[in-house]
């Protein structure tokens, strides 16, 4: 179905929120990171899978509503992996 413009905007915002979350707590490397990519650098989908596995969510690699809901819970600022 054609995506309604505001829905597109919302998805964009959610994805940005998710990227920030994964950078903070799952060591997602941002574009601003040095040109050379860490050998084990992973795409955002892999990192979403990692977070879903940690919280016992269905591991899809997709930013579904359950995953976004957990990401929005108030929490501790210490990363969940690779502190």
């Amino acid at each position: 179905f054609p995506v309604v413009p505001e829905m597109e905007k919302k998805n964009e915002e959610d994805m940005q929120f998710a990227e920030k979350y994964l950078e903070k707590y799952y060591k997602l490397k941002t574009e601003a990171e040095p040109i050379f990519k860490m050998k084990n650098s992973k795409t955002i989908s892999d990192k979403i899978q990692e977070m879903q596995a940690f919280f016992g969510l269905k591991v899809t690699g997709e930013l579904d509503s359950n995953t976004l809901e957990v990401m929005k819970q108030p929490r501790c600022g210490i990363p969940d992996v690779g502190q």
Partner: protein
Amino acid sequence: FSTFPLSPRWTKTDLKYRILNYTPDMAPADVDEAIEKAWNVWSSVTPLKFTRVYEGEADIMISFVAGFHGDFYSFDGVGGTLAHAYAPGEGIGGDAHFDEDEYWTKDMKGFNLFLVAAHEFGHSLGLGHSNVLGSLMYPAYLQTETRNYRLPQDDVDGIQTLYGPPTSTEPPTSTPPTETPTETSTTDSCDPHMTFDAITTLRGEIIFFKDRYIWRKSPYFPGIEQDLISSFWPTLPSGFQAAYEIDKKDQVFLFKGNQYWVVKGEFVQPGFPRNIHTLGFPRYVKKIDAAVYDGNTKKTYFFVGDKYWSYDEVTESMEKGYPRRISVDFPRIDNKVDAAFQEKGHFYFFHGSKQYEIDTKYKKVIREMKSNSWFGC
């Protein structure tokens, strides 16, 4: 549970913490209490001891800050990140920062400071996050009942991989024990030379403590049941030396060395152990021989050597004019009291294998019996 990479941990058991500032959301006394209670969560299951200092350096510096606050992890305003803490180590190691932009409370109206602090101090001691929903080290804030708080097993397992279980720190007694305490087996309950470490009532039962065991005399079942102390209170040490119940409050106080705990049934109350000197004992008192609460006067008698103190449970303070010599107020009780309890208006004092039934009001010995006369031998 998880630890930080390379499992950093403190190499000493006595750690100092300092509260650098307060949140305007809560009364300072409530912040103090929440922080102390949060440390007790970890000290009750490890050999670690936490002492508060009010100036200079401390291993763990605690502060309320907002936004950018001088480390690489700025806070993010309301919601999102609530707090963070650093793994054990020098300098910022161990320090805990709480986001001042959050609303901190001692109840559940905002973020409960005790719960978040207990979590952050887990990091300060070397724990990472756990993916066990309901564990204290779970990354997301979960509203949890904080009265009778019991540390979930996953967190106990985690912290004990770093520091082990509590050690029974028996302070050196002034006189070396006359006999080496021997473990008692079940069949000894009718030993005519039976002695007890401590005795208390508990919800209508009478609980006799000896070494790692308790004997229960209960109106709810026939005979005497023997259990391990650890089967009742897994997070407490064994070898209690005194115990008493305030039945109206459903509280039992357990004493060992210079520490004491309070339990309600099987629940160990948060904020314990505490030091016996907080009750008002002078520094030279290193342990309590026996204790008994008199429900009529609401006073608790503490026996130490040949003297005793009277503690007013209403004003929660030691009465003036004590200690007094036991033999002066309780004629015929010429020795130290090993254990004591009150039952149906009478006191029962134990010394060695003897037991004395005492009229509570006149403090007169009514009867002398064997210590295990309650076991129907």
